[in-house]
Amino acid sequence: MSAVAAPGSIAGGKPRRLWRNRIFKLGMLGCMFVAFGTLAVLLIDTLVTGWPALSKQLLTGLPSTVAEEAGARPAILATLYLGALVLFFSVPVGVLTAIYLEEYANRERWWNRMIEVNIQNLAAVPAIVYGILGLAFIVRGIGVGRVVLAGGLILTLVVLPTVVVASREAIRAVPDSIRQGAFALGATKWQVVWRQVLPASIPGIATGSILALSRAVGETAPLIMVGAITYVAFNPTLFGPYTALPVQIYNWTKQPDVDFQTLAAAGAIILLVIVLSMNAVAIFLRNRYRKQW
C-alpha cells in the first residue's frame, strides 16, 4: 500500500481570476439595480403622489377647470375605444400579412424580400412620424377628421409592424413536420394553414398583439398630432372629437395648480393599471397555451 501523495493546501489565496469573477458579478447586479431601481422609484413616487387623488370622481367625472371636480371619464373611455379599434384593425391585417410572408411569399422574388426588410424598418419608425402621416393622409387627406376613428387608424399604423413581426415568429415556430403531415393526408394549402398552422400559432400571435396594443394605448405623440383635444366634457363617440388618457395626463401636468399635478399622477396610475393588466393577460396566454413540440 503506498500512500497517496498529500495534496497541497486548498485553502487561502485569492487568485486574480476569482476576484475578476466576483467583480463582474457585482457589476451586473449594479446594472440591474440602476434599471429596476429607477423604475421602482418612479412607480413609488407616482403612487404616493397620485394616491390621494384616486377617487370615483376621477374615474367617472368630466374634466373641469377646478381640480377637485375634475374627472377623466371621457379620456378613459376614449383610450378603451382606441384600444378596441387598434385590435380590430391591426390583428386581422397583421396576421394575414404574416401568413402571406411566411407561407405563401416566394423569397426568391425581390419584392417579397423588400417587404420583409421594410416591415422590420417600419417597426423602428418613431410614432410621431406616423402622427404626421396620419394628420396629412387620414385626418385631412381622406377627410376622416379629428375623431376617435382617425386616432385608432393611426395607432394601428404604429403597431402594425410589431404585430406582423410577432405573428411571423409565432407562425415560423410551428414545425414543418406539422405542415408535411397535414399535406400528406391530402389537405390543401389553405386547410394546412387554417387548421394546423394558425391554431398552433395563436398563443404567440395573441401575446404579440396584446403587447403591441399596450404600447398603442400608452402613445401620446401621434395623438397630439392628429388632434386629441384637451378639454372634452362629454363621452366620446367613434366619429366625434376626443381626448385620450395619456394626452389628458400630459395636459394636467402643464397646469400651474399643484392639485392638477396630483391628478396627473392619479391618471398615470389608471393608465398603468390598464397597460399592466393587458401585459398580465399576455403572460397568462403565453403560459397557458405554451406548446411542447
Binding site: 416566394n106 408535411q180 403531415g181 399535406f183 400528406a184 393526408l185 391530402g186 394546423q196 398552433a200 406548446k291
Partner: protein, 284 residues
C-alpha cells in the same frame, strides 16, 4: 456467372418474404421509368426503373445520401413542396401518370398516405389527429367509427380508447408513430409510404411497427425506406438497393438504383457486387 457466396453468419434472416414470381403476378401499383430528381439543378437521383405490386411490402435500402427518401417522396409528390425540386421521367399509378398536368397533388395524397421518420402528431387530441384527414377531405359516415377502426388497425385502440380527448403529444414515441399510421389509414388510402418509420423508436416499438406492416399488407400496398437491413429482411417482399455514385471530379454525388429483386434474393444471392458488399456489412 456464379452467384457470389456470402458468409451465412452475416446476413439477415428473411422471414416473411414472398417469391418474386408471386409478387410479379399481382397487380402493378406503381411503374417507375427513368425517374430522376434534381434540387436546384443538382441531381440527387437518376435512372430509376422499378415496379411496385399490390399487397406487398417493398423496401428501399442503401447508405445515407443514396436518394431513397427523395425517391419515396416522388410517389405522393411531396417533392412538390420543396422549392427548386424537379422530377423527370414518369411514375405511373395504376397506369395513370402521377405527374401529368391535370393531376392534382392533393388528390394523389389522399390515395397514397405517408408516415414520416419522426412521429409528427398534430398538437391536438388523439381523436382529432385521426379525424383530421377525413374532415379536410369531407368524408362522410360516422367519425367515431372511423376513428376507432383506424386506431384498431394501427394496434393502438386498446391503449388509448379511454383517453381519446387527451393530447397526442402526451403519448410515447412508439404510440405517436402508430397514431400517425392510424391517421394515414383514416382516409382509406390505397398505398402507405413509410420513410424510416422506426428509426426514432426503441426496439420494442420497432417490433410493433414491423408486426403492423405484416398485418396492413393484407389490405394495403406498403413502401418503406429503411437504413436498417434487418428490418428490410424482416418485413419486405421486394427490396431495392440504392447506392451513391461520385462524379469523376468528386463534386457531384447522386443516387442510383443498383439492384431490385425479391428480398430473399437480395439478402442471400445478390447479383451485384455492390449489393453483396452492403448487405454483408463490408460497405456502408
Amino acid at each position: 456467372m456464379e452467384a457470389p457466396r456470402i458468409d451465412s453468419g452475416k446476413i439477415a434472416e428473411v422471414s416473411h418474404g414472398l417469391e418474386r414470381a408471386e409478387v410479379e403476378s399481382r397487380e402493378k401499383v406503381f411503374t417507375v421509368s427513368d425517374l430522376g430528381v434534381a434540387y436546384s439543378g443538382n441531381v440527387a437521383l437518376q435512372d430509376v426503373n422499378l415496379e411496385v405490386h399490390k399487397n406487398t411490402v417493398t423496401a428501399f435500402i442503401g447508405p445515407s445520401g443514396c436518394g431513397k427518401s427523395t425517391f419515396i417522396r416522388c410517389f405522393n409528390r411531396m417533392n412538390d413542396l420543396v422549392p427548386g425540386a424537379k422530377v423527370s421521367g414518369t411514375v405511373l399509378y395504376h397506369g395513370q401518370d402521377l405527374y401529368a398536368r391535370d393531376v392534382d397533388a392533393v388528390e394523389i395524397r389522399r390515395r397514397i398516405g405517408m408516415v414520416f421518420q419522426k412521429p409528427n402528431p398534430f398538437p391536438k387530441s388523439i381523436y382529432d389527429n385521426v379525424a383530421f384527414g377525413p374532415r379536410v377531405l369531407g368524408m362522410g359516415g360516422s367519425m367515431d367509427e372511423r376513428v376507432e377502426q383506424s386506431l384498431r388497425q394501427a394496434a393502438l385502440w386498446d391503449e388509448v380508447k379511454d383517453r381519446l380527448k387527451d393530447g397526442a403529444l402526451g403519448l410515447s414515441g412508439g404510440q405517436q408513430q402508430r397514431l400517425c399510421i392510424a391517421r394515414a389509414l383514416a382516409v382509406e388510402p390505397d398505398v402507405i409510404l413509410m420513410d424510416e418509420p422506426a428509426s426514432a423508436l426503441d426496439p420494442i416499438s420497432t417490433t410493433r411497427i414491423e408486426d403492423l406492416m405484416h398485418e396492413l399488407k393484407r389490405n394495403y400496398t406498403i413502401v418503406i425506406v429503411t437504413h436498417n437491413m434487418q428490418q428490410a429482411a424482416r418485413v419486405a417482399d421486394m427490396t431495392a438497393f440504392f447506392s451513391v455514385i461520385v462524379d469523376d471530379d468528386g463534386a457531384g454525388r447522386r443516387g442510383i438504383l443498383v439492384e431490385y429483386d425479391s428480398t430473399t434474393k437480395i439478402f442471400t444471392t445478390p447479383s451485384d457486387k455492390r449489393t453483396e458488399d452492403y448487405v454483408t456489412g463490408r460497405f456502408g
